[in-house]
């Protein structure tokens, strides 16, 4: 006898239930990492994700991860927006060496990675793409570690600034490399030129339009923290959705929105932004999902040397630029070294970038994937530790943080 009021067995787990469960598990793992191992909470989230993911217990399947992709974009969108919103052009104008150092930091790490990969025999285009991806520091990791430690000071400020600059550098460099990729796959030169143009111009335009809208709406809503908070979140969500739908770069669009909102707001209609506890929800789920998408299988013994080289030269490139030019921009000598360490986390967006490239150019992406994805695996685990170490050592973490 069929009993209609009982669910079919096994019961279908809805997405909200899945979302909640991931959140709870991530939260517990994060707290355990913190309490028993003194690791950053992020490391706990990532490990929980890896354990649940397709390469772990398999509870989270690839399909499910794909369905949750928008959630990842949303979380990254919020973080990248907040990062852009911290970036004050006035500071760069007042301290020109600072901007020079930030640009040098991007260039040095790009060339260092490029040279290392070329040495290992990668084709120039491939090496350049991996180098572009590797230049970016993870906005999510540095923001979250800084939040968690309630860190404040010159190393923290500059870490966020350099992350914003090297993220933009990475997106732009990657877009500029696209034509060569197209041409290698015998696409027409029109198509080869239009693609990066569409990505760069489209993303900055979308970000700018969203910024103007945000400023107008905020002016009309008035200076209430609650109303502006809702507006911020709403605008970020809409903009992520639009960027997604138009196949633009979510990162570039949102960082544009953040930077312009800070720097075009000459009448100061926007209040300081405090995402606070609400943002924590997104952070937890983001890192659980990043953990789940880590591809341990990409890792093999042959690649290990290359991956190690990738990580080491990337660090050396960043460090060299900061140690050479940093003192001119007024950072204390010890601070320069710690800043280089703080910038170690590799952008989780690298996974997305790699997947995007794979989806456009399947054969090509696979080669790129081995090195980059393995580096992501290593740095997703080491990166938060490095940043936490640097901020603590610099004395910038809050005593209770």
């Amino acid at each position: 006898m069929a009993v209609e009021f009982l669910p079919a067995l096994p019961p279908a787990i809805s997405q909200p239930a899945m979302f909640g469960a991931l959140l709870v598990l991530g939260l517990l793992a994060g707290e355990a990492a913190r309490r028993y191992l003194s690791l950053p909470r992020i490391t706990g989230y990532v490990i929980a994700g890896a354990a649940l993911g397709p390469h772990g217990s398999g509870l989270l399947t690839d399909n499910l991860l794909f369905d949750l992709r928008l959630l990842v974009d949303l979380s990254i969108g919020l973080i990248v927006f907040e990062l852009g919103f911290r970036l004050d052009f006035d500071w760069l104008k007042r301290n020109r060496w600072l901007f020079a150092t930030a640009v040098a930091e991007s260039l040095f790490s790009f060339w260092a990675i490029y040279a290392a990969l070329a040495y290992f025999g990668f084709r120039p285009l491939l090496a350049a793409m991996a180098a572009a991806i590797g230049t970016a520091t993870s906005p999510a990791v540095v923001m979250l570690v800084a939040h968690e430690l309630r860190a404040e000071g010159q190393v923290t400020e500059r870490m966020l600034l350099f992350t914003a600059v090297n993220s933009v550098f990475a997106f732009v460099a990657l877009a500029l490399l696209l034509p060569f990729l197209h041409l290698e796959h015998a696409a027409s030169w029109q198509r080869a030129l239009l693609h990066p143009l569409y990505l760069l111009a489209g993303s900055s335009l979308a970000g700018s339009v969203a910024c103007l809208l945000l400023l107008r709406l905020a002016a009309w809503l008035g200076k209430s923290e609650e109303r502006q908070f809702v507006l911020f979140v709403a605008m970020v969500v809409v903009t992520v959705g639009v960027a997604h739908a138009l196949k633009l770069s979510v990162n570039l669009t949102l960082i544009t929105l953040g930077m312009l909102s800070r720097n075009l707001d000459r009448g100061h209609v926007l209040l300081p932004l405090r995402f606070g506890h609400g943002a924590q929800l997104f952070f937890v789920i983001l890192f659980v999902l990043i953990g789940a998408s880590l591809e341990f299988s990409a890792f093999d013994a042959v690649a290990a040397a290359m991956v190690a080289a990738f990580i080491v030269v990337r660090f050396l490139g960043k460090g060299l630029a900061i140690l050479l030019l940093g003192p001119l921009s007024g950072i204390r000598p010890g601070g320069a070294g710690l800043l280089s360490v703080a910038l170690v986390p590799l952008s989780g967006s690298a996974v997305v970038m790699v997947h995007d490239t794979v989806s456009f150019f399947p054969a090509f992406g696979k080669e790129l994937a081995t090195v980059v994805l393995s580096a992501v695996v290593v740095l997703e685990l080491l990166g938060p530790l490095a940043t936490q170490f640097a901020l603590r050592r610099a004395g910038e973490a809050h005593p209770d943080g």
């Binding site: 919103f85 911290r86 004050d88 006035d90 500071w91 007042r94 301290n95 600072l98 404040e152 000071g153 010159q154 400020e157 008035g222 200076k223 800070r262 100061h268 209040l271 300081p272 932004l273 405090r274 921009s329 007024g330 204390r332 004395g395 809050h398 005593p399």
Partner: protein, 375 residues
């Protein structure tokens, strides 16, 4: 008791200490940039000194000793420029004002040096709540007895200094309804208040010795009085002023203190009486709460008078002494401000009304200080 001998100083010389707010531009809350900023400023050749204060959100400017207010103002302006320039390189902003309008005192971090760590250990949360910003004015005295006399005399004028400098209407995100809320944070300390009614330096030394023997104080620094003698500098130190919103106003206040001291030392218009202290806390409260509009009881006549009026009358009485000190012009400026009913606290409230948020108030206050004169 050698360390308590009253040092020689040029009579009527002036110098000031100014505690400043270090603000982070991105959310306009207090920052913790003191360590980095001090390290940078330490490499400059500045006429005065720049020092740490109890929390990492503050620095203190000390001018050198001056005999003329104009020179003091010029030096302050030089220091302001240096501080603003170096702060700019570190993405910090600098502001005057007696209190940050909305910081949360529990977020503050103690500047790690021996004395400050001792204060935290001793006073607990009072230490972090002490992240308020004052101006101290030193006036040189010929000797200890004169210093004791001047401390008693100047006590009568403390409400003037409170009202003229008041710049802390907001505290912990709220409008306190006070013009200066800062002094309330000072009053919480057990050794706040005023000097006991001693008549000479030797009598003061007896009192101090008794306090030290009983282990209550170790040095003069432990007294948080509104005004105190400072034997190591050979000065009296007026400590009730909020840091004004501009260096210009800070220099005006010093000129007023100098002229008052000149008048009293030259003419000895009154002698100290114990009764004068009866009205002290009432008058202090009126000044903090209502500023220039507060009503104080005259300690000698017992009559009530508005503080603004009392200042104008005092300025008239001072006039003959101002000329010799070349401070006629600054005193005229103070008088004009009093007549116009101006105060920094009112200006801050006006900014709040015009702009709609306390973050905007902080930004405008920073702009003011960084420019050196009010908009």
């Amino acid at each position: 008791m050698d360390d308590m001998s009253f040092a020689a100083s040029a009579p009527l010389s002036i110098g000031i200490e100014l505690e400043l707010q270090l603000v982070r531009p991105h959310d306009l809350d207090l920052s913790r940039g003191a360590g980095d900023l001090l390290a940078r400023l330490g490499r400059r050749k500045l006429p005065g000194a720049v020092k740490p204060e109890i929390t990492e959100s503050m620095i203190e400017l000390n001018t050198s000793v001056h005999t003329r207010c104009a020179a003091l103002a010029a030096e302050l302006d030089l220091m302001r420029r240096a501080v603003v320039e170096d702060a700019g390189l570190l993405n910090l902003r600098v502001s005057g004002g007696g209190a940050h309008p909305f910081h949360d005192w529990s977020d503050r971090r103690i500047f790690p040096n021996e004395r400050f760590l001792y204060i935290v250990e001793r006073y607990g949360y009072l230490a972090k709540q002490f992240t308020v910003f004052g101006q101290h004015i030193h006036v040189g005295c010929p000797g200890g007895d004169e210093a004791v006399y001047l401390v008693h005399m100047m006590t009568r004028y403390l409400p003037h200094f409170i009202a003229l400098s008041a710049a802390s209407p907001y505290y912990q995100g709220q409008d306190t309804s006070f013009q200066s809320s800062r002094l309330t944070a000072v009053s919480a300390f057990p050794l706040a208040g005023h000097m006991p009614f001693v008549q000479s330096w030797s009598e003061f030394l007896e009192y101090f010795a008794k306090m030290r023997r009983s282990g209550i104080v170790a040095s003069m620094k432990d007294f948080y009085w509104d005004i105190r003698p400072k034997p190591e500098y050979g000065t009296i130190e007026i400590r009730v002023c909020d840091t004004p919103l501009t260096v210009k106003r800070a220099a005006l206040l010093a000129a007023y203190a100098q002229a008052l001291a000149a008048w009293h030392l030259a003419e000895r218009p009154r002698e100290p009486v114990r009764e004068a202290y009866l009205f002290n806390s009432h008058n202090r409260f009126e000044a903090c709460r209502y500023g220039l509009g507060g009503e104080i009881v005259q300690p000698y006549s017992g009559e009530k008078k508005k503080i603004g009026e009392d200042i104008l009358e005092t300025l008239d009485a001072l006039a003959p002494h101002a000329a010799g000190l070349e401070c006629g012009e600054p005193l005229a400026e103070i008088a004009a401000g009093v007549r116009a009913g101006h105060s920094d606290a009112q200006w801050l409230r006006a900014r709040r009304r015009a702009r709609g948020s306390l973050a905007d108030v902080v930004r405008d206050a920073c702009e003011n200080w960084e420019r050196g004169d009010r908009k």
